[in-house]
């Protein structure tokens, strides 16, 4: 798995390098954006198929939804509390 992660990150860094070389070419950037959306749609479609054929997930969809909601509340609340302190200590104009 670690090798997979390294491959994925190396591919992204390669992309950043190529992107920096390409620079500001609106036409190419537009095509890249469309391809990015396409591959996201494809991957989410594949995830949907994986979930649909996985009885363990389908039978637990209710509890999966609740878990997602609980984790979201945790993430947002934690961020808000940290942001509150950062704002009052460093950003608020006295």
């Amino acid at each position: 798995m670690l090798t997979d992660i390294i491959i994925v990150l190396a591919i992204m860094i390669l992309g950043i390098g190529i992107g920096l070389i390409i620079g500001n070419k609106p036409k190419i950037i537009k095509i890249i954006g469309a391809l990015t959306s396409f591959s996201i749609f494809l991957l989410l479609f594949i995830l949907g198929i994986g979930v649909g054929t996985n009885d363990k997930i389908i039978n637990n969809l209710h509890s999966i939804g609740i878990q997602a909601l609980v984790l979201t509340i945790g993430a947002v609340l934690g961020s808000l509390i940290c942001a509150y302190f950062t704002y009052n200590l460093f950003f608020k104009k006295k």
Partner: protein
């Protein structure tokens, strides 16, 4: 919001195809999603590289602003860790991987699916979409009680695009640049932090 609906509809379409076993068995068995992920990461990289305005924003920023994405990272990870105690099926590491999506639901769910499991991938997808929707709906209250960085913190990676208008509306124009900066930093860090958490926790 429109983007998340489109993405959700592709997910639901796949779900229906899977549920009805509408596709040939061979296609269901073959696992080409890792190659699709390679393609996506390559494109995301090019997107980051060609985005000159992002690089400019990062270069012109002062040190204080770096504290904003750090607050979001620390707050998100501590928050999900604490709340994972309420969930018997989720370990702290799994909760942190979901939280490290920072609202970037497409990439985080895909990576978690690939490197961990479909179940956690779905949780990440839902959780991070809820985060975006929550930010769009409740930012006025967040700002009132948690200060002007609240919308940026709640929005996470989405603060640079989908939730930016609502943040600017309730925190003011002078917070736009901070929102974009924080969003960019978190967007770049999602594909780094999520796999690291999955590998080591």
């Amino acid at each position: 919001m429109k983007g998340s609906l489109i993405i959700l509809s592709f997910f639901v379409l796949g779900l229906i195809f899977g549920l009805t076993r509408f596709l040939p068995e061979s296609l269901l068995e073959s696992d080409f999603s890792i190659y699709a992920l390679y393609l996506l990461m390559f494109l995301v990289g090019i997107g980051i590289g060609t985005d000159r305005s992002s690089w400019k924003v990062i270069r012109e920023i002062n040190i204080k602003i770096v504290l904003v994405p750090i607050s979001v990272i620390v707050g998100s990870l501590l928050g999900v860790s604490a709340f994972s105690a309420l969930l018997s099926d989720i370990s702290i590491g799994e909760a942190m991987a979901v939280g490290a999506g920072f609202g970037y639901y497409s990439l985080s769910s895909v990576m978690i699916t690939e490197f961990h499991s479909d179940t956690l991938g779905v949780i990440a997808l839902l959780s991070n979409i809820i985060r975006e929707i929550l930010t769009l709906l409740v930012t006025p209250l967040f700002v009132k009680y948690f200060g002007k960085l609240a919308g940026i913190a709640s929005g996470g990676a989405t603060a640079m695009d989908t939730t930016l208008p609502i943040i600017v509306r309730y925190s003011g124009k002078e917070y736009a640049i901070i929102a974009v900066f924080s969003g960019i930093v978190l967007t770049i860090l999602v594909p780094v932090i999520v796999p690291l958490i999955l590998e080591f926790l």
